[in-house]
Symmetry: C2
């Protein structure tokens, strides 16, 4: 296959981290990325070049382009952590070469050549050859959310209690978690902010759905904590809401922060609970999990994700597939819609 | 030995917990305890009766009588978690009987018959027969602080980094911790609030002493964190100061809360650090440690504490030994003095 010399991509405007953290909403693309034409990158020995079919937009992408994610930006490089496409070139390593011609889900985390482009570079080890039956939209969202879901559900499973709490529970990620939970007889307590999300979440596997905006929220939360005894709070929000939930949870509760949708101050309401109730506050980051988890468990998680998408137990709700030419204008408005994922089609 | 029928004691005014948490200072005794005369208690099978020579006043006693500690008060029972004295009667169990006539350090935590009395009941398992050379003042402060010091230093040791941070570092507890740390080549970073405490703490084993009230505190803290890379924060304070220290600490820092001297709100300044820097917030409670720790380790810790007091590596700084008759009036003012412990002599 003959490759072009140049490609279109959405390029990062800045290096490093922002000095002025802002909210998790993407108000516009222009402050953070600019469309441009750059040379098609050359994969290193351990890497492959993917012709991108669909690129995902995850909350972590938004945090990253805003300079609020756990790794520094590189000005002039394409953004985008995840996508699906065909491997059209590879470095000299056998592990990279054997992927040539295959359709893969890929993550670009450490390659600095992102997925919001016609071509992306990924480590061969961060590519999953897709089995038939996995749709492009599922493949493009096959790594970040599904592995996060499986890894965080492992925390719930290890803790032993059947009930656990999820904030921002209408997210794609939480729907994946609730799907596993329902299949294994666990009882997710889903926290949302709108009544119209309640039936969706009950369908997705929630045992209890609480609207944090309802006047009786605190009372219903207290009742749920008393009856269900949830030990794990999987929290994408932080701020006063998560603090209130953690405070209501029983002895040995663990508050696992994996996102920061609310940028207001996050208090520890009763630090004495850390002492006398043995509660803990910690974080979850997929990058850290990938680094620290036994490779066999990682491999099993990848297989589990593919099977769940292939047999229909999991599926990706698609809000929009935005053509590259419309991305600057349409991505922010599509992301503002609830209940689905947004992709870029380069 | 003939025992009297009644005894004097400082009796708790209230049951359970307070509805209105207040500061950690003891502004007066009257709201919380009242002197009275009650029947001398009878030890159960596994318990002993101790004629109290000296009773300790620990920060946990103050929190307890105010209804802010991790176990409920029992109205009309004597306060006081710890003391030293002679065993004058015992229950029928062999383990209790063999202590009769011995001088013991004792803890009353679960017996509900406190040490602020002429006689106290303790579980035989919570008594340490004292070796010669251990002074009464050391014996009366032999359990709560020394075991907490050894147990929390275990956390530092397991983490591996030589440097660690202590708040409220002029406390008796922190001096014990710094004594072990110095002997084992660790580097305590002591946080205090007054310059006159700096030489005392350097003498006690601190590698670096920082005054949190100094105008260049944040800058010096940042430098210390950069050079020393402390991973553990042993924190008796909470509130904004501890939050600032935790925020300045490097990757994988653990904030271990064991006290709550500052009752103002405790923020998590950057929850993203929990995610991307793998930081954690947790608590330490000696009662929990006693329950969850291997008995061999507990036994070794008790022996280590006795040896350290007997050979002079540890000693208890005494602010005052207050006679029982003066306790209501003098205890609050003596506790307000820095740098030493206050005892009641029944």
């Amino acid at each position: 296959m003959t490759l072009p010399a140049t490609m279109r991509a959405l390029l990062l405007n800045d290096d490093g981290y922002t000095a002025r953290p802002s909210g998790s909403m993407l108000e516009a693309m222009e402050p953070y990325v600019t469309p441009g034409t750059i040379a098609v990158p050359t994969p290193k020995a351990s890497q492959v070049l993917v012709k991108v079919a669909l690129a995902s937009i995850n909350p972590s992408d938004v945090m990253f382009i805003k300079g609020m994610y756990g790794q520094p930006r590189a000005k002039g490089q394409p953004a985008g952590f995840e996508g699906v496409g065909e491997v059209v070139a590879a470095g000299e390593d056998a592990g990279a070469q054997k992927l040539v011609g295959k359709r893969v889900a890929f993550a670009t985390g450490i390659s600095n050549w992102g997925a919001w482009a016609e071509y992306a570079v990924a480590e061969a080890a961060a590519c999953l050859p897709l089995i038939d039956g996995v749709k492009d939209a599922d493949g493009a969202a096959m790594i970040v959310n599904p592995l996060t879901a499986i890894a965080m559900f492992d925390i719930v499973r290890q803790e032993g209690e059947k009930a656990f709490i999820l904030t921002a529970a209408a997210s794609q990620l939480c729907k994946l978690i609730m799907g596993i939970a329902r299949d294994e007889g666990y009882r997710p307590i889903a926290i949302v902010r709108r009544d119209d999300q309640i039936p969706l979440l009950e369908k997705a596997g929630a045992a209890i759905v609480l609207n944090a905006e309802a006047p009786d929220f605190k009372q219903r939360l207290a009742e749920a904590c008393k009856v269900e005894k949830p030990r794990i709070l999987l929290d994408a929000v932080t701020g006063p809401l998560a603090a209130t939930i953690f405070n209501a949870m029983p002895r040995r509760a663990r508050w696992i922060v994996y996102g920061r949708l609310d940028q207001t101050e996050t208090p520890i309401q009763e630090p004495g609970q850390l002492i006398f109730m043995h509660k803990k506050i910690e974080g979850f980051w997929l990058t850290e999990w990938m680094r620290s988890t036994d490779p066999q468990r990682r491999g099993a998680a990848v297989m589990e994700a593919q099977k769940r998408f292939a047999d229909g137990r999991w599926s990706t709700d698609v809000t929009a597939i935005v053509p590259f030419a419309d991305a600057m204008k349409r991505v922010p408005e599509e992301l503002a819609k609830p209940n689905g994922k947004v992709f870029i089609a380069p």
